[in-house]
Symmetry: C2
Subunit: 273 residues, 2 copies
Amino acid sequence: MNVTVLKNHKTFEGHTVFAEHDSETTKTKMKFSYFLPESGKPKSAIVWLSGLTCTEENFITKAGAQKYLAEKDAMIICPDTSPRGLNLPGEHDSYDFGSGAGFYVNALTDGYKDHYKMYDYVVQDIVAILESEFKVSKISISGHSMGGHGALVIGLREKDTFSAVSAFSPIVHPSGCPWGEKAFLGYLGEEREAWKEYDSCELLLKGTTRNDSLLVEQGTDDEFLKNQLHTDRLETACREVGQKLEVNYRKGYDHSYYFISSFVNSHIDFLCR
Amino acid sequence: MNVTVLKNHKTFEGHTVFAEHDSETTKTKMKFSYFLPESGKPKSAIVWLSGLTCTEENFITKAGAQKYLAEKDAMIICPDTSPRGLNLPGEHDSYDFGSGAGFYVNALTDGYKDHYKMYDYVVQDIVAILESEFKVSKISISGHSMGGHGALVIGLREKDTFSAVSAFSPIVHPSGCPWGEKAFLGYLGEEREAWKEYDSCELLLKGTTRNDSLLVEQGTDDEFLKNQLHTDRLETACREVGQKLEVNYRKGYDHSYYFISSFVNSHIDFLCR
C-alpha cells in the first residue's frame, strides 16, 4: 500500500502513528492515524470513523483510548473524514459538506463521484492496510456522530468484514435530518432510493441485519440529539426487524470528546470481545 | 473572583469546565479550564502549567487526566499561558515569546511589566480561585516544558502554598538555554541577577529547597532534551544542596502530550498523596 509514516509517538505500551498513502479509491493522498501496541502484532483492530470537521487527529489525541488498547494488545486506525487538496466546487463552503464531511458514501454527483468514495475507502483501503501492513484478521468498526452513522451503515452492510459494530452519538437516520439531507443531496443527488443504502434505519427496515448486537452510546444532554441524531428511530427500526441493539443513554453527557473519553473503554471491551 | 463559566462538559464522574475572569494582576480577562469531580468538594487540587504555544485547552483535552482525578475526588486547574488581547510590541512575532509564552515570571521590561505577571497570576489569582470558589486547601503544582519550569520555580519558592511539586519535561535551567534566555531577556532585561529568581537550578544553588521530593518525568527521545531542557543540571543542583529528587527517564518517549498521558496517573498519585 506504500504507507509513509509521518510521525511516531510512544504512548503507553505502544505507538501513536500518523501516516499517509496514495489511494486509488479517492485518487488523492489520504492521511490516517493509528495506535499500534508494543507487540506489533495486534490481536484485533478497530476502525474508528470520526465526525464532521474532524481529521485523522481528533480521536487519537482526545479519546484517551491508547491505554485500554495497549492492555488488550489491540490497535485502532482512524482515517481522515474526506479527501483533501481537491478544491471541488463548493467543497470548502460549509462545515457539513465537502472537506471534513465525506459522510462515508460513494458519491454519485459530478465532481464528487471521482473522489468522494469514503465508503469504498474504508471498506477497501483501510481494511487492506490492516490486513497487509499489520496482519490483522479480526476487525471491528465504531465512530462518532457522522462517523457513528458510517460505522452502523458499513457494519450492517459488510457483516463478513467487521466482527462487531458500535457507535457514539450516531446520526442514525441521515435521510431524515438536516445534516444527512444536505450531504446526501450533494453527494447522491435527488433520487432518494439511492440514499437508502447509506441510512442505517432504512437498511434495517429492508432486512439488512446482523446476528450480533449493535452497541450505541448516547448522551442525554447532546445538543444534536433532537434535531440530527434521532436515536429513537434506530431503536424502533431494530425492534421492527428483530435486530439486537443496546443503547446506553448517559445522563448529562453531551456530544463532545469528553463524553467519548468517558466510555471508550467499554466500547473497546465490546469491540475486541 | 467573578468567574464566568463558558462551557461545561460532563466527563467521567465530574465536569470539564472552561471559564474566564477579570484579573487585577494581568489587567486582562484570563481564561482557564478545570476538572471538578462530581462531589463538587474536591479533597485536593493540582495547578497545571502548560508549555509554549498552549492555552487553557491543551492539557484538559489531551492528557486523559479526568478519570484519575475523579477516582481521587481531586480537581485540576489549567490557566492560560499568557495574557491575551493586548497587542504589545513584538508580542505575537514568535511562538516562544509573548502570547502563549508567559514563562511564569513577573516581567520587568516596558510594556510587558504591566500585564505579563504570570508568576503572581498563578500564586495569587489561581490560588485565590481554588480557595474561594472551590474551598480547596491542599494544593499541589505540576506542568510541562515551560510549565514544568514554572512548577519547579513556583513550587520551590512557595513552599507554604503548594504541598507537592512535579514536572514533565521541564526547562530546568532557563538562564542557560535558548528558550529561556530569549524569554528572560525580553521579560526581565539584561540584568542576569534578576533571572535567578526564575531558574530552578539557581534557586536550589542559593538554598531555596523543599523538605519533600520533587518528581520529574522525562522522555529519552524528547527532541528538546539536549538543547533546551538539560535535566541533568537539575540532578546536579539537587545533589549539591541535598534536595530530594526523583527523575524517571522514560525510554522512547518524546516531548508530546502522548508522553504526558502515559504517565499522568502516577503524577496525580504523587501530587494528591
